[in-house]
Symmetry: C2
Subunit: 181 residues, 2 copies
């Protein structure tokens, strides 16, 4: 009996028993931490998944709404065009001309609000925004734009369509009429 | 010396030592698992973050592109309107009328491609797509649309603008002319 007591006391003081207790506690902590990490990971993954699905839906919606917004803005233009057509069919020429001017102004304003702006053509030929369809001998400075065949437009900072222009050639008699730019 | 040997042998067989070994191994496994989970979590979080940033950029781009596409389609309409205006200023009435008809057709086609469709008005009044501005005594069936004051349009399956119409009242003399729908 005294032997047993001594054995027990020795066991509790033995370093491996102390380490055993510490390891058990540490393992419990690690298991709890792991479970928490797995929970967090599953939650983040689920959030990510939902976000992905929502983003795809949102994108479709955004594109549809962007289209709808512009289309809605264009309805008055369509209305006024129809009114102009009625004036044309009734041979009300003044009303027709007025109507066309109104429609033109409206459409220009809508497109401007969307980000459209005309390309400047009152100066030298600029290959970034102009397309030279012809070079013609001219009294104007060589290389300057002398005629606009089709207006050019930017959308935001990009050139949506270059202006198609005629460029002044050399002033001398040796005209290079008809050259493609 | 023989005592020591015996002690060592006893130690190796003691259950707490066996458990100690198992716990140490388990501990190492748990720590490794833990590190892996933290790595995975950080990776998923970083992916999520990047996805979020990219999605925001993509959305801006999508909306801008949707606008740009429609604006680009409308450039020929603007060109033809300008040509019609030139005809108007030159008093070329036939050319002006032709031009307006062309512009109207173009704009209608573009908007149709975008998803616009006119609301039908050749039948009974339908509060889902019509707005009754007037009820007038009429030879037509009571409740039928007898005049369209402004065309209505759907965009996809939504009513973008109801058609503003005049509705036939009762055929009898007790006309309810002027009622708001």
């Amino acid at each position: 009996m005294p032997e047993e007591v001594e054995n027990t006391e020795q066991a509790e003081e033995r370093p491996e028993v102390v380490e055993l207790e510490a390891l058990r506690a540490e393992n419990e902590g690690l298991i709890a931490e792991n479970e928490e990490l797995i929970d967090t990971l599953q939650r983040v993954k689920a959030e990510f998944d939902n976000y992905r699905k929502r983003a795809a839906r949102d994108q479709e919606g955004l594109v549809a709404r962007a289209g709808e917004r512009i289309v809605k803005e264009l309805l008055p233009v369509l209305d006024d065009l129809e009114r102009a057509l009625e004036a044309a069919h009734a041979h009300e020429e003044a009303k027709l001309e007025e109507g066309v001017e109104l429609v033109h102004r409206q459409l220009e304003q809508i497109l401007e609000r969307e980000g459209l702006s005309p390309v400047a053509t009152d100066g030298m030929f600029d290959p970034h925004v102009h397309e030279a369809l012809l070079t013609q001998p001219s009294a104007a400075e060589e290389g300057s734009v002398i005629e606009v065949l089709q207006k050019g437009y930017r959308f935001g900072d990009r050139v949506l369509r270059p202006a198609r222009v005629v460029v002044a050639g050399p002033r001398e008699g040796s005209a290079s009429n008809g050259d493609e730019g």
